[in-house]
Symmetry: C2
């Protein structure tokens, strides 16, 4: 029975009262009449689940606070559950409990969706309720809605961009001040852009969860966090950034999802996160601080770009509330948003099958014939070179090679071979280039 049939308000349970939860609660209160009008019925917050109910919380009606989320979810007058706790295992239990009880769920939890989309979607389908997660990717930049609905009639070829604000802040700071990774990260922590434990951000896990979600939606296939090849920014040095700068480039942590064809001619998906050299003239180079930017390339629409603040309480609350309006409308008027779509069932390619271009910076012996020997090593591995630059260096010569696109495994084999090459004193840095 939909709520409209008896004019009952739509009951909402909020799980979590951190940065996002408190903004969701505040905005729901401040714009109550707007929500009622847009939904076509009233929304009432039934309770807010927190871990410590004794903590004083300014501006929050104390009678709403509860430390037993299960009890809140189970209430008969709760129709929609908003999950903004974070973590994976416990939110998974709570979200499943809600879906199985016929409650629609709105979550901002990228790690949860990237790990358990199949299980959660199946539970939502079985109960005929909505599972929304616009906030899980780039906050209010409507990437999820765009992939799920707007481009539902198109064939998406590639999704790439900056979807983690913390690492972008760190790399931007390193680029603009010349700071070391450690100093830039400390500054990001001080300013609240990085969490006390920054692992999920700096190791690329957060960006990888978002890549999994985007790839699954864009390619109508099953892609989970474990399918995403993930390299973070902890290895990026001030020297890397400064070398990039000299060459008119900067380094960005990109999430890239694309259709590829592997060596056996099979269509497959690549989803990956890694630091990437980007030309200064590329629009992604000017994405500063904690902003996000996503490029989507599709067969008919061509290239689309979306840009905005991809993190923070308010932008994330905007996305959660957009989903909440959608879920509440369906509770009031009946109907349901499209469920998960994985019909295309494309396999995720082994990372070795992915094609990238690399810049390899090495120190070589400064003597005649070196270039010939090294070129030979590349060519034996089937890799052709796009540019070669040789400079004087303290010990020997510095050789900076940019390859044409080649399979990752071919490049890895080449770099192994270069390491064993007598002429090569050291391979100092290897980084991928943006297309």
């Amino acid at each position: 029975m939909t709520s409209s049939e008896n004019n009952k308000p739509v009951g909402v349970a909020i799980l979590g009262l951190g940065t996002v939860g408190s903004q969701v609660l505040r905005l729901l209160g401040e714009h109550e009449t707007d929500f009622t009008a847009r939904i076509g019925g009233e929304v009432q917050v039934r309770g807010v689940a927190v871990s410590d109910a004794s903590k004083p919380r300014e501006g929050v009606d104390p009678s709403l606070i509860i430390d037993k989320p299960e009890e809140l979810i189970d209430r008969e007058d709760v129709d929609i559950v908003v999950e903004v706790i974070g973590g994976i295992d416990y939110p998974r239990e709570l979200v499943l409990r809600a879906l199985r009880a016929g409650k629609s769920v709105v979550t901002a939890n990228k790690a949860l969706v990237a790990a358990h989309a199949a299980e959660l979607s199946a539970a939502a389908d079985e109960a005929g309720v909505d599972l929304f997660y616009e906030a899980a990717v780039a906050a209010a930049v409507p990437v999820v809605g765009m992939l799920r609905r707007s481009l539902a009639g198109d064939k998406i070829v590639r999704i790439s961009g900056i979807v983690n604000g913390t690492t972008n802040f760190v790399l931007d700071a390193m680029d603009s001040t010349g700071a070391s990774y450690e100093d830039a990260l400390a500054e990001a922590t001080r300013l609240g852009y990085a969490e006390a434990d920054p692992t999920a951000d700096v190791e690329g896990h957060d960006a990888a969860s978002k890549a999994a979600i985007m790839a699954a939606l864009g390619f109508h296939s099953r892609v989970t966090f474990d399918d995403v090849h993930c390299e973070g920014i902890t290895g990026i040095t001030a020297a890397d950034i400064s070398a990039a700068k000299e060459a008119g480039q900067t380094i960005k942590l990109l999430s890239i999802c694309e259709r590829i064809v592997d060596e056996d001619g099979r269509e497959a998906i690549s989803a990956r996160v890694h630091p990437t050299l980007v030309d200064r003239s590329h629009p992604l180079a000017s994405v500063s601080e904690s902003y996000n930017a996503i490029f989507v390339e599709s067969e008919a629409a061509g290239q689309l770009m979306f840009y905005g603040n991809g993190a923070g309480g308010n932008p994330t609350a905007s996305a959660v509330l957009g989903d909440l309006v959608g879920a509440a409308r369906n509770k009031v008027h009946g109907g349901r948003a499209p469920g998960e779509s994985t019909y295309a069932d494309l396999p995720v390619a082994d990372f070795g099958q992915v094609t990238t271009r690399r810049q390899i910076d090495m120190t070589v012996r400064d003597r005649a014939g070196v270039l010939a020997v090294i070129s030979q090593t590349f060519s034996e591995h089937g890799i052709s070179l796009q540019t070669v630059r040789q400079e004087a260096a303290e010990n020997g010569a510095r050789l900076i090679v940019v390859t044409h696109a080649a399979r990752e495994h071919e490049i890895a084999e080449t770099i192994d071979a270069l390491g064993g090459d007598d002429e090569v004193l050291s391979v100092d840095s290897v980084i991928r280039l943006a297309d």
Copy 2:
């Protein structure tokens, strides 16, 4: 009864087989299995209405062609009507006929929606069917979906950007080649960026229709084409562009929708289209050729930006097909997208109430005290000046004044007064500045 109840395919009628219609038909055929999977049921094109059925059409099944759109719409096995004819009066009749017969409608027709949204939405509401028009604004850049759904939980403050590809192509060409307006337009026509009769584009009517649609959606109010203040680009000269260039600026035709407070303290909407001076460092300045870019500023999400190809058969077909998937899903599974939302019912402000900044370029007498007299004229009208630049000129002196933000009617009155001022030989150009 939904189609799923009897497993019947969803029948589609396409009205119009121009640039957009032919791509819609082609893509539907090429990706048939994808559409079936994404919709959860088969889509079948029942017919394509054209004005001249005798014309040979390569690659189109002749049995689909019909020159009586009413007959096609009325067919029992047509569930969704795609209107891509263009024009207003005749498509209005056809769309109303379809909606009243319980058929969902997907249209790319901005002029139709901007003129008759109220009537069409009422008909869709009454019949309980969908009326979709993502393609009406910026083609596949999902502005409509974003305003209608993604930001449904936020308060939008301002929507502004470049939404007409033809005029952007012309202005971009004038900027990069120094060409006159006439020559740049001729080039745009030759390359297919401008139609044989370019009036709707160059006079700003097309951009005004889009502004009306964006303002109505964003502010949940009734805004029609007639409410939009509209100035085109026909008055922009090579001299204007060159002066802008010297000052580190360029000229763009912007559509601007914003909440304002009028002199009586009433909240209102401003929707307008006019040429605007944009600093070269502003992201809008680098939007080239026929691309579109839209900035949306909202209370919680902050500033979002969307960019892409806003015209052409394929990008428009992508948007139409996204809508078609949505409408077909609803036919198969039941349910309906949210209808029109105009509950906020904000009035559209008189254009005189709108606040803008202006650059006024005039020739004045070259004698002592001129600046004092002219400053006096501005100050008498309550307008304060942000910058004043005086240069030597052939007859007298050139004075370029940039005002602080002021109401349009105050600026108009000031310019009238300047015209009557003895010290002012001519007011050579008056143009608004972007924020």
